[in-house]
Structures are given as structure tokens and as C-alpha cells.
Amino acid sequence: MYSYLLGSLYLGWALGSNDAANVFGTTVTSRMLKWRTAAFLAAAFVILGAYLEGAPGIETLSGLARGQTLASAGLLSLAAALAVTVLTFLKLPASTSQAVVGAIMGMALYRGQTVNWSELLKVGICWIATPLGGALSAALLYVAGRALIYRLKINMIRLDGYIRLGMILGGCYGAYALGANNAANVTGVFMGTGLFGLRGGAEARLLALLAGGAIAFGILTFSYRVMVTVGRSLYDLDPFSALVALLAHSVTVHSLAVVGVPVSSTQAIIGGVLGVVAVRGLYKLNLRVLVMVLLGWIATPLLAGLAALGVARLLLPG
């Protein structure tokens, strides 16, 4: 019975190994923290975030198309995982949130389930709001932070100390937000399937905890390479701007976790970087990265939906 969870756990593992770079990438690549310490902190805060604030997102995802069975939930997780793997293999940035929603829609189409369109609209709006919110909060944080630094006449050496501490605390907050927001992607579809013989809040919390564990496992086992490669190539910013982008990402992802909509952590940080770039009037972001993100945005739910239709047709009993 628990084998239905395999696709989900794989998705959680992939999410952890990829998205930890968004919160601790700069801190590790600039050698402010050793990877081991960063991975441990990220894993701990992801679990905490998932357990304490992961439930609303789980309820949103399970409400998109009610009436999943264990088999359909397991298969649509597998379809989402497959889509993410294929897109990652094609070097397209894939959002797990979009993959899971795409797979839910594919499965709903196959099984003739009723789709909750108002919930889907809410999710869609939040997807658009993610990079925009990241950009807006980064721009505001940057302007406010710069004014504060000038006003307080902070010595450059002390400022470095603050930034260093900020990157570590901001990374922990980012990991917490990631856990709170993305736990739903991993196990949300199992809500209401009675997998653990629980119902309601207790079931949501246990599923969130399980998701947090899977993401943490991904961070602890496979995040190093992504941090040092993706973390470096995605954006090239000075330390203060990197801190602002990180905080903007974390605030955005956390806010949407409170609203209960799982979103892409990568899109939030790209939004944050764009916000900083806009305020500073610089051009540092790789345009190719932006195009790839947009491509991934369209391709991810589409591919996941098709994959869900495919695996359901092949493997779903009845």
C-alpha cells in the first residue's frame, strides 16, 4: 500500500536536491557556510516549515479534484515526478508545483473528476504572483535596506557581518518557507485517501511531515552539486543584493504558503533577482535563463498532465 508513495517521495527528494540551491546556494558558493552545515540547517527548517505550516497547501491541492484513490494519487505523483525528471534532463527548469497541478488535471480528465475551477484559478493567479511578488518585494526591500544603511552609516566591515548573518538566517527562513509551501507538492494528493487511517488536520500534518522528510533527504544527499553549479550560474549579484533576493524569495514563498498555494521557489528567487536588477538599473541576469523559465512554465503542467493521462491509461485499474 505504501508503495503508492514512491513517486511522491522521489518528487520530494528531487525537490530537496534542486531547490536547496535557491536558499543556501550563494551562502555555500561564496564559502560563508560549509555545504554540510547549510544542508543540515536547510533540512531541519524544511521539516519544521512543512510540519507547522504545510497543511493549508495540502488542503488546496487535495481540493483541486476531490476523490483521489490511493492508486490515482500514487500514479499522478509518479506522472509529476516523471515530467520533472524529463524536463530536468532537458535542462528546462521544472516547477514541482506546476507538475503536480498539471498531473492532477490530467488524472481528473481521465477519471472524469470534477475540477474545482475557483481553486484552480487561485493557484494560477498565485503562479503569476510568485515572480511578480518576488520582484516587488525585492525592489522594496532593496530600497528600504539601502536607505537604512546610508542613514545608520554602517561601517562596511560591520555591514559584511550583518549580510553574512542575514544570509544564514535568511537561508533558514527560506528553507522554512520552502518546507511550508512545497510540502503539498510531495504528498498533498494523498489527502483524503485514508493512507494512514487518519482524517482531517492529523492526516494533513502527517503528510506534511512525510513530505518535509523527503525534501530534507534530497537536501542532505544530493544538493551539493546543484548548489555549486546552478547556484553560481543562475545569478551573479553582490552580497547585499543576493541577501535581498533571498529574503524576497522567502517572504513570497512563505506568504503563498499561508494562502495555501504551492508555488515554484525558483520562480520566486528569479523574481527577486529581477527586482534587485530593476532597482539598481543593472543588467546581470542571463536572458537565456529567463526564456528557459518561461518555457518550463508552459511545458511543465502540460507534460505532467499528459504523463498522468498516459500512466492512468496504462496502469490505473478499472
Partner: protein, 215 residues
């Protein structure tokens, strides 16, 4: 909070002491040079040489301590490299002041007599370039965006130094001195000018670092 930033406070104090040492090197160098121009090689001048040596050694010690602290990952790696570069560039200024005094003392260079006023003008510009550099350095730590005028001022002083140097050298070779003396004074003028060159080098480095740090 202050517990977390003890090392940063140590670095801040260290940089201020280092800049203070460079200032002391200049303050020992100038009276030493004026005494040399006025009275030649004597007890007063030799005292300046040993004081300059002491001030420069202190600057070296502080620099070594700062480098060790910087390497112990107390700063962001980007800033660490920039600050190490600035330390090195400023230390070069202190070294040049000591070099001039040592050169006069070791080579027993006879004072340039009739060119005293020209030398005083040259020293005035050297002093201005180093003091402006130090002001720019202090501003940099708090307002990197306000460093540019200091860099431009150092540049201006350095150009004026070059101009005075050329004037002195023209006069030197027009004088009825023995060639060996002319060559000794030629070297001395260039060594003094090298102080403002070093100040200009440091200020250019400061300029780039400030641009990088500008928010």
C-alpha cells in the same frame, strides 16, 4: 549583538589603526625631510629615519594581523580580496616614505641647497595626495558612493607632483653640479614622486572597490 560582531569590531579598529600608522609615517617623513633640506644630514634627520622605520614596522605588524583575521573567514570572500588589495596598496605608500629617508641616510645625499623651495613644494603635494587618500579611505568604509571626489583629488595632486618633479629635474641638469650629484638628486626626486604615485595607485584601487561596494 556585539558578541556576534566582535571580530568585525576588531577589524574596524585594526583598519583605523593601520590608517593611523600611515598617517604617522607621513608625519615623521615630512619633518624629517624639512630638517634634511634645512640642516642636512644630522642627528635630527637620523632620528626621523628611526621613527619612520618604527612607524612603518608598526604598519606592517597591523597589516599582518589584519590579513590573518581576514583570512580566517571573518568577511565575505569578495570583500576580503578587496580589502587585502587596499591594505597592500596603502602599505606601499608607507614603504615609499621610509625608502626616501633611508636612501638619503645610506647614500649620504647632500641637500639640494638652492632647490630647497622646489623640494618643499614637491613635499607639499606629496603630503596632500597621501592625506587625501587617507580621507578617501575613511569615507569608503561608511559611504563608498562618496569616494570619487577624493580619488579625483589624489589624481590632481599626483599630476601636480609630476609637474614639479619635471621642473626640478630641468633645474638640476641646468646647474653647475657634478654629474654624480645631479644623478643622486634625480633619484631622490623620483623617489619622493613615487610616494604620490603609490597614493594614486591606492586611490585607483579604492575607486574600483568603492564601485563594487556601491549599493
Amino acid at each position: 549583538m556585539s558578541f556576534f560582531f566582535r571580530k568585525q569590531a576588531h577589524l574596524e579598529a585594526g583598519f583605523e589603526s593601520f590608517l593611523g600608522c600611515i598617517e604617522r609615517c607621513l608625519e615623521v617623513f615630512l619633518p624629517g625631510m624639512l630638517s634634511y633640506l634645512e640642516h642636512g644630514l644630522g642627528e635630527s634627520f637620523e632620528k626621523s629615519v628611526s621613527l619612520a622605520h618604527a612607524a612603518e614596522s608598526e604598519a606592517d605588524d597591523i597589516r599582518t594581523d589584519l590579513e590573518r583575521t581576514l583570512y580566517k573567514e571573518e568577511l565575505l570572500p569578495d570583500s576580503r580580496g578587496d580589502l587585502l588589495g587596499l591594505l597592500e596598496a596603502c602599505d606601499r605608500v608607507a614603504n615609499k616614505t621610509e625608502d626616501v629617508l633611508f636612501s638619503i641616510s645610506i647614500r649620504r645625499i647632500e641637500p639640494p641647497g638652492e632647490l630647497r623651495e622646489d623640494f618643499q613644494a614637491l613635499l607639499g603635494k606629496v603630503e596632500a595626495s597621501v592625506r587625501t587618500l587617507l580621507k578617501g579611505m575613511r569615507v569608503f568604509f561608511v559611504h563608498p558612493s562618496e569616494v570619487r571626489p577624493f580619488v579625483e583629488e589624489v589624481d590632481r595632486h599626483e599630476s601636480e607632483c609630476d609637474h614639479i618633479q619635471h621642473e626640478i629635474l630641468r633645474k638640476v641638469y641646468a646647474l653647475d653640479w657634478h654629474l654624480s650629484r645631479k644623478m643622486q638628486i634625480d633619484d631622490l626626486v623620483k623617489e619622493i614622486g613615487a610616494i604620490s604615485d603609490a597614493a594614486e595607485g591606492a586611490s585607483r584601487r579604492l575607486d574600483i572597490t568603492a564601485i563594487k561596494r556601491n549599493l
